[in-house]
């Protein structure tokens, strides 16, 4: 079991979702996050003073999956999330020791 975590641009989620659906990925968990990186945030003006907002809104996607699917999913996210401009985000993969479905108590592949 692996956990694939991707941090992407919010308005690309819809595209990523569609691409993953074709691949058969039907579940994931999303979080609204703020990214800090090369891409710079915007500037706001207040009473004549400028303030840099350093953070950029991003969406964090978590997908639990079986080992053999990992590469294809990562590749699919990469392709569907990329715009080619700085700030497209990161994907990382980490190990999972077990996964359970709350409703039924099933574990492992059956729980996904």
């Amino acid at each position: 079991m692996k956990m694939i975590t991707a941090v992407i641009r919010p308005h690309r989620w819809e595209t990523v979702r569609e691409a993953l659906e074709l691949l058969g990925v039907t579940g994931m968990t999303l979080t609204e996050v703020s990214g800090y990186g090369r891409q710079k945030g915007h500037t706001e003006v207040y009473r004549g003073a400028e303030y840099d907002v350093l953070l950029v809104p991003k969406v964090r996607i978590e997908i639990v999956t079986e080992d053999p699917e990992v590469d294809q999913i990562v590749e699919t996210i990469r392709n569907s999330a990329a715009t080619g401009k700085i700030g497209d985000g990161k994907i990382w993969v980490s190990p999972i020791e077990s996964v359970h479905r709350v409703r039924t108590g099933e574990s492992g592949a059956a729980a996904i």
Binding site: W13, E32, S34, G41
Partner: protein
């Protein structure tokens, strides 16, 4: 036009607009108090009441309330002014009757809309609209006839105003006690919300509550000072009293909170001002400024305690219509018996040396309204619940009525958080 009438008309036009504004004001006051998942439904109940009650009033309500009495001061002839027939007079030389008629109609609107607060978060919108129509005809219009319809040459009015001689300047009985008693009945018949007494169910947006309170207070000047039906000294006194009672109500409520809980809350400030305004509604044209201050203090303090009773007795009067409008209405209506001053009105109250006579009349008027309204409302709500269904399913209630009934959510503020795009996620297009 009679020149004094021009000034009076100007003020009554303004007052009517102000009372209209109380409807949105109430929508925001109540809307801010419910949880975020039912704010739209709450606002819809108030706007819906505005629309339905106005139409019903114009068709038949005004006739029942202000038509010639049909039997024993109980109600007027329902067919007399159907569709405001015969009230149109663009060349009127006196205060136009149609203006008085619509001013009164807006009182009906507010009264009905207030009841919504007692049954928030759990009612069917369609049934609510039917309730608005039925209740206006069967409960509001008769009570308005009793207390607001004064007899005159060739016209016979209601029993409270003309036989009992109870004093109610702007609606302590017909509006406040009436809506409060109805709220209690409706809350009892429909039952508690899921989670009542366990979850806090606190206001989801206190700035919206305050916007509502501000607009209500502003509009209340039309309600109270407008009830003088002219731009004159009586209107001025009613205006001053309305301001003062709101202020002392606010302070008294905060004082109770500070002593009891250690904290004076903004929700308490809004509630206290409204409690004072409720209590001064019947009395603003009958007491002196000093009397108004006393009434505001009494209402603020008593209502601050009364809103806790629902937890004790288990009726889920969601937004405290009972604690504020029934209790505040009783306080104001009864205190007239003590504080009425012949400087302002026709009699003196007990404390001004007028004896207990007026107090007795006030108690009769208050009691009659309470009992009639409670009984009738319980019956109406019960019948509507059995026939059309008045309450949503438990499932829908926990999902939130906004989504289930109106297929809407109130807020979608995320975009503001950032620049590019926004995690709307929602996806899908029209389907």
């Amino acid at each position: 036009m009679n020149p004094t009438a021009a000034g009076d008309t100007a003020w009554l036009l303004t007052s009517s607009a102000l009372v209209l504004l109380m409807a949105p004001g109430l929508a925001f006051f109540y809307g801010g108090m419910v949880r975020a998942k039912s704010v739209l439904n709450m606002m819809m109940m108030v706007f819906g009441a505005l629309a339905v009650v106005t139409v019903v009033w114009v068709i038949v309500g005004y006739s029942i309330a202000f038509g010639d009495d049909v039997v024993g001061g109980l109600f007027g002839d329902p067919t007399q002014y159907l569709f405001f027939d015969g009230l149109v007079d663009v060349e009127s030389v006196e205060l136009p009757t149609i203006l008085f008629a619509i001013f009164q109609g807006l009182f009906a609107v507010i009264t009905v809309a207030l009841i919504a607060g007692a049954i928030a978060d759990r009612t069917r919108f369609g049934t609510w609209l039917v309730f608005c129509a039925v209740w206006t005809v069967l409960v509001y219009a008769p009570v308005a006839h009793w207390i607001f319809d004064f007899s005159s040459d060739g016209h016979v009015g209601g029993w409270m105003a003309n036989q009992l001689h109870a004093l109610d300047f702007a609606g302590g009985t017909a509006v406040e006690i009436n809506s409060g008693a109805a709220g209690l009945a409706a809350a009892l018949v429909l039952g508690q919300r899921l989670g009542f007494g366990r979850e806090p169910m606190k206001p989801h947006n206190l700035t919206l509550v305050m916007i509502g309170a501000g607009l209500l207070w502003f509009g209340w000047f039309g309600f109270n000072a407008g009830s003088a039906l002219g731009a004159n000294g009586l209107a001025a006194v009613a205006f001053v009293n309305t301001l003062l009672a709101g202020c002392t109500g606010l302070l008294a409520w905060l004082a109770v909170e500070r002593v009891r809980d250690g904290h004076a809350t903004s929700f308490g400030a809004a509630s206290g001002a409204v409690a004072g305004l409720v209590a001064i509604t019947p009395s603003c044209g009958t007491v002196t400024p000093l009397g108004a201050m006393v009434i505001g203090i009494a209402a603020g303090a008593i209502c601050a305690v009364a809103v806790g009773l629902k937890y004790r007795f288990g009726y889920d009067d969601s937004l405290d219509v009972v604690g504020v409008h029934l209790v505040g209405g009783l306080v104001g209506t009864i205190l007239i018996g003590f504080l009425a001053s012949s400087d302002v009105t026709s009699v003196d109250g007990l404390l001004y040396g007028g004896g207990a006579d007026q107090l007795g009349k006030q108690l009769v008027a208050a009691g009659a309204t309470l009992v009639f309204s409670f009984t009738m409302t319980a019956a109406i709500v019960w019948i509507l619940d059995k026939t059309m269904g008045f309450r949503v399913d438990a499932d829908h209630e926990s999902s939130g009525v906004d989504l289930v009934i109106h297929a809407e959510t109130a807020y979608d503020l995320h975009a503001a958080a950032g620049g590019g795009g926004r995690p709307h996620f929602g996806g899908g297009g029209p389907n």
